[in-house]
Amino acid sequence: MPDELLPPRFAAWFSAQGWQPRTHQTALIDKHQAGRDTLLIAPTGAGKTLAGFLPTLVALADRPKRNDIRPMGIHTLYISPLKALAVDIARNLEKPIKDMALPIRVETRTGDTPASRRDRQRRQPPDILLTTPEQVALMVSSKDAESYFDSLERVIFDELHAVAPSKRGDLLALDFARLRKLSPRLLATGLSATVRDPAELCRWLVPQLPGSQTGADLVLAEKSIAAPPHIRILETGERLPWSGHTARHAADEIYAEIARHKLTLVFVNTRMQAELVFQQLWAVNEGGRRIALHHGSLSVAQRRKVEDAMAEGKLDAVVCTSTLDLGIDWGNVDLVINVGAPKGSSRLLQRIGRANHRLDEPSKALLVPSNRFEVLECRAAVDAAMAGEQDAVITRSGALDVLAQHVLGMACTAPFRADDLYDEVSSAAPYADLDRETFDAVLGFVATGGYALKAYERFAKIRRDTNGYWRAANGRVVQHYRMNVGTIVEASQLKVRFGRPRGQAFVGGRVLGEIEEYFAESMLPGDTFLFSGEILKYEGIHEDSVLVSRAAPKTDPKIPSYAGGKFPLSTHLAARVRTMLSTPASWGSLPAQVSDWLRLQQIKSTLPKAGEFLVETFPRGERHHLIAYPFEGRLAHQTLGMLLTRRMERAGLKPQGFVANDYALSIWGLGDVSARVSRNPRWLDELFAEDMLGDDLEEWLAESQLMKRTFRTCAVIAGLIERNFPGQQKKSRQVTMSTDLVYDVLRAHEPGHILLRAARADAATGLLDIARLGHMLTRIRGHIVHKPLARVSPLAVPLLLEIGREAVHGEAADDILAEAAGAMLAEASV
């Protein structure tokens, strides 16, 4: 019985709670005592966090009393992606520590911790410090990092599955490498939800050095304890929409579910969807249910209010975005509703886990597809969830912009030699394959920008002394670094504020929250939009604020260009949807409206068999359409559409625009594609040939707004552009540096620059999803099935309905302007 690992004091405490220590909990004590790094995989509610801390509590229980003259340092560092989680865990740890009278002090340090308390924590470190990745970066780059961490024994990474595959994870991995150097005894424990390939996370937890442990030991919580979730797909009594994402048809049915439960979380994918669903539910709220709204654009105070009300049981339902995906128990949620498609099975499982945080009772979830394609996706997600299947965590190469930030931080804590830092950095799993040349380029970037034209030597931020040690050039560099730590780059935001412009001044009122600038940019004066549960009318713009007034009652708000789910359909679910389409025998589990639709498609056109790739072409009105069904997610489809449009332009087919969703894309134009294919049966193979990822891609990247957004993120993280600087005052937006302009100049003068490399690497997996597109093009080679049709096919209808509702992505600036110029052009132009 592994319980002998548990000291009597702890065993007694467990019995007093009426608990049996679980095998995985005692296993962690065992692993720690054996000096092993460990990954614990356990579902929500399996006592994962307590398991993580047990080895520390046991180790410290019998430690001699603290010597007040020279306080001992931190023993255990706990790092969570959410600061609220760190605070919550601190509360939960209090109980066992108090009950067993353990001589252990626990403190938290987050962005909200006042400087005075951080100072005290530096002078008198707690035994356990609970913190976030950004705070770790600040601590390891401080002047006294070495003494601060010299007695560190354990580091615990919570929600590792969520952190590791991100830039935040890259930064954390680098800081972790430094912690191992500061404290060679350090043992790591990762806590994770179920993942597809635990080996990836096991590697993340150990140094990637020749001859060292290749991966952390894996501990799995017993599977049997978690009751399988009850997941249903709403079988609507209404007519299922062909397209759209608002699920307006199901408002009454969602409301009825809310009325039947104590507390319902209604998850949606985007902030705008949250606003719309919230509005729809209130429109049918005849029972006066207490329904609240929670998303990332609302002011922090407003979000706290909702969270507190939830915890106190004062709410019946909350409409929320991924802001409530992770972390804390917000009261007694007994139903999770997911409106729209879940996009990935892991995300769905995570959200379902929000209901009933108790293992003995099954979680209850309801999926509400908002259109016909989403029914297929929901079905695929439920099947995957019931099979316990997860989306893959993508193994990533560490981002170079993150490395640049870290290198500067390391120069701020102590002088380093390039050789030593290279060895240290490449011991971090994401950077294991980093070559020395690239590392040196990053070092050069940090020092002087790393340009071929050596213009900035005298402004160098870090300098190498005659002994080969690099150090920060001056105190200002350190100060700037500390103000700009972190990898989370928000899109440019505008405040939403009541007010009206009046002459050069304006009369301003209350701030409601913030909206992304690119969303604001699609609005015309007098437009109305939903925000914070209200219908607002755009009045004007003043410096960093959008001025709004309350719209007249019953105004129909303009629905802004809606970009589908924020997350693209996962590769894994996409494969399941394709399989479903090619297997009519599986359609029995679909609602009749959907299976009838698929049967009609079989009659009017065809459905691709396993491994086939369907392309339909047909005339409609004056135009010719080409529709392809890759099922690779909206981002990859947009990139594909952009590249195909270029090729069709060159082929003389006069494409005029395209529209893409998560499942398919449509390109239309004046040229007859069917005729072209009948003349040259190989033409479609040429059109979809993989070499489009060569020159065509390069040309398009020069103009692409998505690429510029990607570059902006890299420039900010790498420190080329600073978000914050000392003495910063409220600036008019005119003087903030535009990274688009920097991108244009850099691309023209030094296309091989390290920051452009970083941006391209991001684009491959990020907003442009080039990597996925590449895999698709390989997969379909030789498997394209062409169906020339006389008219639109049933499967194509949803996509064609999105034309006009969604912005058509042409991105050819002059086409957009020409349309806006319209009639004025003729008279003004010479």
């Binding site: 080329l720 020409a818 110029a821």
Partner: protein, 224 residues
Amino acid sequence: MVSLQLNGEMVMLDHHGSLWWPAQRMLVVADMHLEKGSFFAAQGQMLPPYDSAATLAKLGALVTRLRPACLVALGDSFHDMRAGERLDPALRATLQAMASPLRMVWIAGNHDPHLPADLPGERSDVLAAGALTLRHEPQPGAQPGEVAGHLHPVAKVSNTKGRVRARAFISDGARLILPAFGAYAGGLSCRDNAISSLFPASAMTAYVCGRTRVFAVGEAQICL
């Protein structure tokens, strides 16, 4: 180029952001902000050191093509008071060669009230020519014939084909605001109160700089 009747004078607007006045053979550019890159570098933000070269190359191409008798830099030609010292000697020579054979007028801006001493050309706060008055900062109230810079206007356009944010000339036919010409000069939405309040309601047209030409876009089509 797009032609515009401005307070009775015919001027041409170019998609690079310059104004060409055929009757006077005058070329006008505003807000070049030379050496903005090195200004930021001195503060620790190592922007690519190619902005002055890019800006002057663009200007040089216009001068070669149009062969103006008079070249007017409408203020904020240099990003800061030390920018002239930081300008690469080769670029300084380019600038001198460009300005020497013609009448060069440097209008003072708020960034460069005093210009580098060795630059050829006249210095002035304001230049009157024909029915137009050229100055850096637009003055409040109705100013018929005023040509100014300073505000770096951009227009944002969004329609079914997509969305664009681009530099733009703003005019109501009486006065004109030039876009910034400099490679690193940022922009301010022409919807911003600072710009829109200079024009009577619903009277402004944005002459938006596309990639190959200028597009006249009515106020109703311009987004936030």
